[in-house]
Symmetry: C2
Subunit: 154 residues, 2 copies
DNA sequence: CATTAATAGTTGCACTCGCAACTAAGTCAA
DNA sequence: TTGACTTAGTTGCGAGTGCAACTATTAATG
């Protein structure tokens, strides 16, 4: 009737750790791409990608869709605007909100990075096998959806 | 003979993005645990966990094993030492290196957090199903191992 | 040996992040 | 319409991070 030996804990078998390592490994080289080409932050890239995908929307919409904190979005929007990649225009329905839209230049860059992202993603999936990659997608989405299973409540 | 429409790029199908979201979702609540209980950083927790698992080793060993940047390790070690959770002693073989070892207090905390980590990990795996979780482990390890498949080389 | 290169670890700096506090605008109800 | 409450977005601040430069020591090479 042994208790599990607590010194048995092994980071290498800890799912959050593995997910982090995998995320960092796969993010790093693509991050280098958009950073080198356009001096972009990961958050900026994500905001750009959302606007590219969905068209005009407010900062709040981006927060809701992508689960990025509003302060990160706010700063990313400022930076992208300063670079001339997006414009803000006041929302007619709500004067607190601003409608964000990519400029032509923003769309060009989104097209470029989008293409490279697709290529990178395909290379990744090819390495682990396309069917398995599809399974992986499902698993990750489930984990994301389960979201926080509240703290261990000990 | 269409080129793939570049506006088709969808963050939600981008593996690095999914991995990141999943990693953040699973890390967040456990991060809250060690932060609240011991005011620890993720890097500090990882250094502690490595020392707990492998016993005495140098900072460089930790870097090699866990792929954490040496500056992060350096600062984490300083912080853990300041908290009295580890000691440094000069290496007899190499006067540049220091041998790191957990103090009794460090081991107690490692035991505590290790236990909680195991519980958290098991809860996570239970949610997605244990067999599937095992598959996920394999996949993640493969992705980590493939490591950087060099930048797209376009 | 003497020099040059490599390595262990630290530090300075510029930047990103997370959180709380804040402004401005909209909502709801008495 | 006034007052309490919520929401969109911004800003200040403390803290963590990445990168490059640096010290001290060890290894390698002529």
């Amino acid at each position: 009737m042994d208790m599990p030996d607590t010194t048995d804990f092994d980071l290498e078998r800890f799912l959050p750790y593995l997910l982090n390592q995998a995320a960092e490994a796969t993010s790093r080289s693509f991050h280098a791409t958009y950073k080198a080409s356009y001096g972009m932050t990961r958050t900026q890239w994500r905001v750009l990608a959302n606007l590219g995908k969905f068209g005009s929307m407010t900062a709040r919409d981006i927060c809701t869709i992508s689960h990025i904190e509003k302060t990160k979005v706010s700063r990313a929007v400022s930076a992208l605007e300063a670079e001339g990649l997006l414009t803000r225009s006041p929302s007619p329905q709500d004067r607190r909100a601003e409608i964000l839209a990519l400029t032509d230049q923003g769309r060009v860059i989104f097209a470029d990075l989008g293409q490279r992202a697709i290529a990178y993603d395909q290379a990744l999936r090819a390495q682990i096998g396309p069917e398995i990659a599809a399974q992986l997608d499902d698993l990750l989405r489930r984990i994301i959806a389960e979201g926080e299973l509240g703290p261990p409540e000990d």
